[in-house]
């Protein structure tokens, strides 16, 4: 199974970078999201995947024993997902407002400074 996930990670990275390299700002944001997903999956996979053992302590136990999924990468990814949402929301609104002013989302046409407007 890990092999498949590895391929998906590679695909996400490739797709993310390809989209970031486009001239459209909307595509750039999509690329960022894909790249972020790829990175999250990478962290998740490197913590090793375990089936059916969530890191939750049973009702009668006091410590997490036996086999369990690594809680640390999960905590990290949770933070990453939330933070990247903040970034995406801001970026989407920024693109919207920028389009309102300059009437384009083509990066190559957005090279004027304030004075030129």
């Amino acid at each position: 199974m890990e092999i498949l996930l590895v391929i998906i990670i590679g695909l996400l990275y490739a797709a993310g970078i390809y989209m970031i390299l486009r001239r459209s700002l909307v595509k750039l944001i999509i690329g960022l999201i894909l790249l972020g997903n790829g990175a999250n999956m990478l962290i998740f996979l490197l913590g090793r995947v375990v089936k059916g053992h969530p890191p939750i302590i049973g009702p009668t136990e006091k410590i997490l024993a036996d086999m369990y999924a690594d809680p640390l990468p999960q905590a990290l990814i949770l933070t990453a997902i939330v933070i990247s949402f903040g970034l995406q929301a801001f970026a989407i609104i920024l693109v919207k407002m920028a389009y309102k002013v300059v009437k384009t989302d083509d990066l190559d046409e957005m090279n004027a400074t304030d004075e030129d407007l």
């Binding site: 590895v6 990275y13 949770l78 995406q88 929301a89 609104i93």
Partner: protein, 768 residues
Amino acid sequence: MLIAILAGFLLALFMPNVIRGLKGKSSIGIALLPFSLFSYFISFLPRISSGETLHFNWSWVPSLGVGLDFYLDGLSLLFTLLITGIGTLVFVYTSSYLKGHQYLDRFYAYLSMFMASMLGVVMADNIITLFIFWELTSISSFFLIGFNNDSEPSRKSALTALGVTGFGGLFLLAGMVTLGYITDEFQISSLAAMSGEIHGHDLYPWVIGLVFIGAFTKSAQFPFHFWLPGAMKAPTPVSTYLHSATMVKAGIYLLARFTPILGNHVMWNTTLIIVGSITMLYAALHAIFRLDLKGILAYSTISALGILTFLIGLGTEEALTAAAVFILVHALYKATLFLITGIIDHETGTRDVSQLGGLNKIMLPVGIAGLLAAVSNAGIPPSFGFVGKDLIYEATLHFGDLAWVLTGAAIVTNVALLFAGFLAGIKPFVGKLPEKFSKLHLPGPAMWVPPLILAVLGILFGLIPPLVDGPLIKPIVAALTLQDPDFYLHLWHGFNVILALSVATIATGIALYFIIKPSEALLGKATRFESISPHSMVKGLGRGFTWFSAKWTNFLQNGYLRYYLITILSFLTFLLAYRLFLGVEIYVDTSVLSEITIYEAIIVLIMASAIFFTVFTKSRLAAVASMGVVGYSFCLIFLFYSAPDLAMTQFSIDTLTVILFVLVIYNLPKYLKLSDNRDRIRDGLLSLIFGAMISILTLEVLNESVQKDISTYYAENAYLLGKGKNVVNVILVDFRGFDTMVEITVLAIAALGVFSLLKLRLKSIEKE
């Protein structure tokens, strides 16, 4: 002693207040500082002439071997006396020359800074301290040369001077550090004893090469001489100070100071003789053709510096004596000539020799000073210059096989210098006074007394050599040769070859003075070769460098996000690939991998097709929707692999993102293909290679074992310490609670940003 050296810096600090206190009336009072320093240093004269050397040490950075160590021997004493003595006269002269100037306070501040730095250079006993003061002279002279900062040529020449001397200074530092590395000794006075060890070391050629570049740039030796004529843009007191006694002599001082340490080696001597003689001949011939008085003096100064380098290169006791005498001779007559040039310029408003004449009738004392200086410069008896010239011929004549070649070079140089001296010191004062100058008058005594004092000294020392030979010259030669010298300076040597050579020189020079009349045509002939001069080459080099750096910057800093990314990613890919294929054996350990089940395979398939669809669809809505599909598939994968919290978060966040996108989607422009096929293929290839690289890397990492220490700690203590059963939640809100708080802050800031962006009314634009 430390106070004496640093006094100039202190005074510079308070100069604006001092000048305001004096209310511009008696700024001549500032000359008290150099004068008191002069008196202070001259009080050491008896002790130095009796063969003593004085050491003064203050600790500064002992761990690096850098100390404020100074010492005073014959060589430093001569220089300190010149610096403070001529300094005093220049300070007095300036009070009249720049009377009422708006920035007189700045000028005096720069001048005292410069003086203090020069004192530091000539007295430093530590090679690093020497370098620091050396650079300080470059910096303070930059301010002095560029004092008329509203004129562009002036700024430019100041920058050239700083560029050349600063550049040389760095070489000097390298040389000093190498020297320190070889000997592990930073005291100049202790280095002389190690000269044998230094000579034998493999790095010796490097040391002298680096020291030479430092000295040649400072002392304007060919091919670094070009900054000096440019520096004539400075006010005349600056030119006087920098080019007669101080700045340019620092290089000579350096060579002389290191003669006992590095000298007396065939590489040292040959290089100095060659560079010195090229410089003296080249500059002397240039001096003949100049029209501008300061131009003439600039080239004759370069030539004189060439003579000094040449003499130090000869390295015999006679040559070093000649050098010591000539330093003094040159300082006296060149300062005089500069000062009277300043007076002429100040009064008549021109420095063109072909227009000047007859000024004797209105400014006789200045004329007398000019005549005396020209006589000393020409080496006509009974001037001190005659003594100096005799010593030079004596040194060249006794130099083995090459004696006649070297003597010939010296004669040609001297003839040209004599001519230049006559042009600057005599020509403006004799002949007919032009009509337009007839209403001029003699300036105040603060201007004409200083040159007269110097000119008279130049004759006096010639008439009575014992005034200087015992007290000053002998200790210098002792410092340079490390032996007790046994000689006396004489004005009259009897009838011999040297006298014949002197007479021939003087006769030829005077004949030349009557034959060649300076004119534009002659100047044109001399400047014809300007395009192949070192100055033009450096300028061309500078232009080429600017051109290259512009191209280079435009190539790297092109302003396109994608090109930056491409550069960074290609480099990263290259590094990763290089390491992976050279140092790592790639294999997959299938035993640790889990099995593939059918529903997992289906999810992965869905994800892969969703990714492809996101990239290649022509509809934005479809792209956003399939991006949502990718996100939801993620949820499922998180669910399969025991991460329920992640699945929930991913689900809600993904939903929010898609909704947000869809909400603003109608306000966005058309979803177009903007780049052409070539770009798409290039980007696609790069992305695929990078993705593949990441995949390979991930596979390799999976082969390594995992460190679980931190996770185990959390797993064991989540309930005991954090009182929570969901370990991930406990980590977030308890163990790493601060991180989460900061994360919330970030979200709040993003929310604020979004809110204010939405509220933003672009009023000015909406009106249009």
